[in-house]
Symmetry: C2
Subunit: 144 residues, 2 copies
C-alpha cells in the first residue's frame, strides 16, 4: 500500500465532483484539473478508473462531464483506493512455509496493518472527508 498522489488526486477529484453534483452540475475533466491543479491528462486516466468502478457517471459529448453515482456519504474511502488500486492491500510477499518467522511477520505485521488500514478506510466516507475537520476520532480502528 502506498499513499500515492494518484489516490490523492482521485479523492480530490471525487470531492470536486461531489460538490458540483449537489448543485446539479456536471464537472468536466479539464475544469477539475484546473480547479485542483492536476495534469488533466493524468486526471483523465484516474477518472476512467473511477467510472469503471461505478463511483462516477460520465456523459459524453458537449455539455458532458461527471456526476457522482451515489451520494458522497455512500462512497467509502476504501472504494476509491481500491478503484485506483492504490489499494490498501500492500503486496505482501508470499509465504511458502506454513509456519516460522516469515509466517509470523505476515500474520502479525503485514496482514494486521493491512487490516487496520482497510477497516479505517472502510469506515470513512467521502462526505466525511469533505466536511472540514471531520476526523473520526471514534473510528475505533483496532489492530485486531
Amino acid at each position: 500500500m502506498k499513499f500515492t498522489t494518484k489516490a490523492e488526486y482521485g479523492l480530490v477529484a471525487l470531492a470536486d465532483i461531489a460538490i458540483h453534483s449537489e448543485q446539479g452540475e456536471k464537472a468536466t475533466t479539464i475544469e477539475i484539473a484546473q480547479r485542483q491543479n492536476i495534469s488533466h491528462k493524468y486526471l483523465e486516466q484516474i477518472l476512467l478508473q473511477l467510472r469503471q468502478a461505478n463511483l462516477i457517471r460520465a456523459s459524453k459529448g458537449q455539455k458532458g462531464g461527471y456526476t457522482l453515482m451515489r451520494p458522497a456519504s455512500g462512497i467509502h474511502i476504501s472504494d476509491v483506493l481500491n478503484a485506483l488500486d492504490s489499494s490498501i492491500l500492500a503486496d505482501v510477499p508470499e509465504v511458502d512455509s506454513v509456519s516460522g518467522l516469515r509466517r509470523n511477520i505476515k500474520d502479525c505485521l503485514w496482514d494486521k496493518m493491512n487490516g487496520a488500514m482497510r477497516d479505517y478506510t472502510d469506515r470513512m466516507t467521502l462526505a466525511e472527508l469533505i466536511e472540514q475537520g471531520i476526523c473520526p476520532d471514534d473510528a475505533g480502528c483496532y489492530m485486531i
Copy 2:
C-alpha cells in the same frame, strides 16, 4: 510506507541472530543467508544498516559474526523499520494550503494511518515476533 522484502529480510535476520545470541553464538552473514534463503550480498547491506543503527554488534575476522546489542524484548519493530528506512512514515505529499481538501486528506487519512502504523510497530517487539502466534490483540492501536 511499504511492506518491502528488505524489511522482511531485516526482521528475519534479526530474529535469526536473536536465536543464536541466546545460545552465546555469533551468526555470520552467510549462515543467515543460507538458513533464511536470502541473497547473502543483499543481506550484507541490510546487516550493515542494522549495525549502524546499533541493533546488532559485529565482530570481524575469523570466528566473527553478529550478536544482538540488546535483548530481543528491547528491540521494537519500529526500530528495525526505521533503521532500514523501510520507514513506517510514508512520504506524505506536502500540502501547501492551510485548509481545504488536500489538508483534510493529509490530516484525516495519511497522517492518521501513519500514526497507527507507528503506534503498532512501536509497541511490538522482536521477541513477540519470534514467539509463535503472539499477535498482540490488545494492541489497542487506535486511529486517534
